[in-house]
């Protein structure tokens, strides 16, 4: 932790906080002095005095609403939301089972919408909020096998752009950080040679580090970033 933490008195909601990038981001916010509310379908994997975990499926609208009703009572505010929860099934379109496709749409896209909608209702009162979606290089690289996953990530970017307009009057910004490959368990679902080839084709041909991502998250989460909304920041030189 640095001498001067970035997020004292700040409440951050992180979805998909049990593992992978979500867990890393939740830990980063905790290290920087935030109170973190983690959401995932499974039980908590983080233990910290400033961390509370809720086993909620972000794709379940009723469950998300009920959770934010609790948050409205205590702590009564949300400053930052990181929509990170995502699932990935990588398989040729002709072989994609409908339930897997629907799960990706529900979690990756609708989950971001449900959480953003409920968080914005709380942020509105404070006239302040930072909503950050975790996007993917798949949105522009359009990898074979990732038809539905990539489409959900593009849809999330469009969602962010429209929400940015609807929420701007309330001091809420909505942006996306589109990450490249990071060594997380999600990568285990992809053929290693496919990932390596994608990374080798990047302008900066290496895997992302957690700090690469924290750097952009901190930038978008900063109170100084009040004039930055509806933007997607791609890592590694990927561009649209």
């Amino acid at each position: 932790m640095q001498d001067t933490p970035k997020y004292p008195g700040t409440v951050a909601v992180v979805t998909g906080a049990r593992k992978g990038l979500g867990r890393l981001i939740a830990g980063h916010f905790l290290d920087e002095g935030a109170r973190v509310i983690g959401i995932s379908r499974g039980e908590a994997s983080l233990t910290h005095a400033s961390y509370e975990h809720h086993a909620v499926d972000v794709g379940d609208d009723d469950a998300v609403r009920a959770l934010f009703a609790k948050i409205a009572r205590s702590p009564g505010k949300v400053d930052i939301v990181v929509n990170n929860a995502a699932v990935l099934t990588s398989i040729h379109a002709m072989l994609m089972p409908a339930p897997r496709a629907e799960e990706m749409v529900r979690t990756n896209f609708l989950g971001s919408f449900f959480v953003s909608r409920e968080a914005a209702k709380l942020m509105r009162k404070a006239k302040y909020g930072r909503i950050i979606n975790i996007g993917s290089m798949a949105a522009t690289l359009e990898p074979i096998g990732d038809s539905v996953y990539a489409a959900t990530k593009v849809a999330s970017m469009t969602l962010a752009a429209v929400l940015a307009k609807e929420f701007a009057g309330y001091g809420i910004t909505v942006n996306t950080v589109a990450v490249t490959a990071l060594e997380t368990d999600m990568l285990d679902q992809l053929p290693r040679e496919k990932v390596d080839a994608a990374v080798a084709g990047l302008p900066i041909p290496r895997f992302a580090t957690p700090d690469d991502i924290f750097n952009v998250v901190d930038f978008l989460a900063s109170p100084r970033s009040s004039y930055i909304t509806a933007q997607t920041v791609f890592l590694g030189g990927v561009h649209s």
């Binding site: 609403r65 409205a72 009572r73 009564g76 209702k121 509105r124 009057g169």
Partner: protein, 99 residues
């Protein structure tokens, strides 16, 4: 169970919050007949969003009633429950009955 007077008070409190941000000569009338939604609405679209979310929040936080005022039931009615303060109040009483 929440009463009619309590619901009216919640809605009027939300309207008062909007009036606090309006010009003195452009105040929303505090009346059961005040139109909230539709062609005759006294509110613009953002103010309408504010009313619905403020009322939802008050029902949740102050009265422990986790209700959605913008769900399928509300949207699919032939007559909008948002038409006036009175129709909104009656809709809230209906969906919270027994809660």
């Amino acid at each position: 169970m929440i009463t009619r007077d309590v619901v009216d008070a919640i809605i009027f409190r939300a309207l008062e919050a909007l009036n606090a941000e309006r010009d003195p000569d452009d105040q929303i009338e505090m009346s059961p007949a005040t139109p909230l939604f539709g062609v005759d609405a006294a509110l613009d679209s953002l103010e309408f969003v504010s009313i619905i979310t403020d009322v939802e929040a008050s029902l949740n936080v102050d009265h422990d009633l986790d209700v959605s005022l913008a769900d399928d039931r509300a949207m699919s009615r032939p007559q909008s429950p948002y038409a006036t303060v009175e129709t909104l109040r009656e809709y809230i009483l209906e969906i919270t009955e027994g809660a």
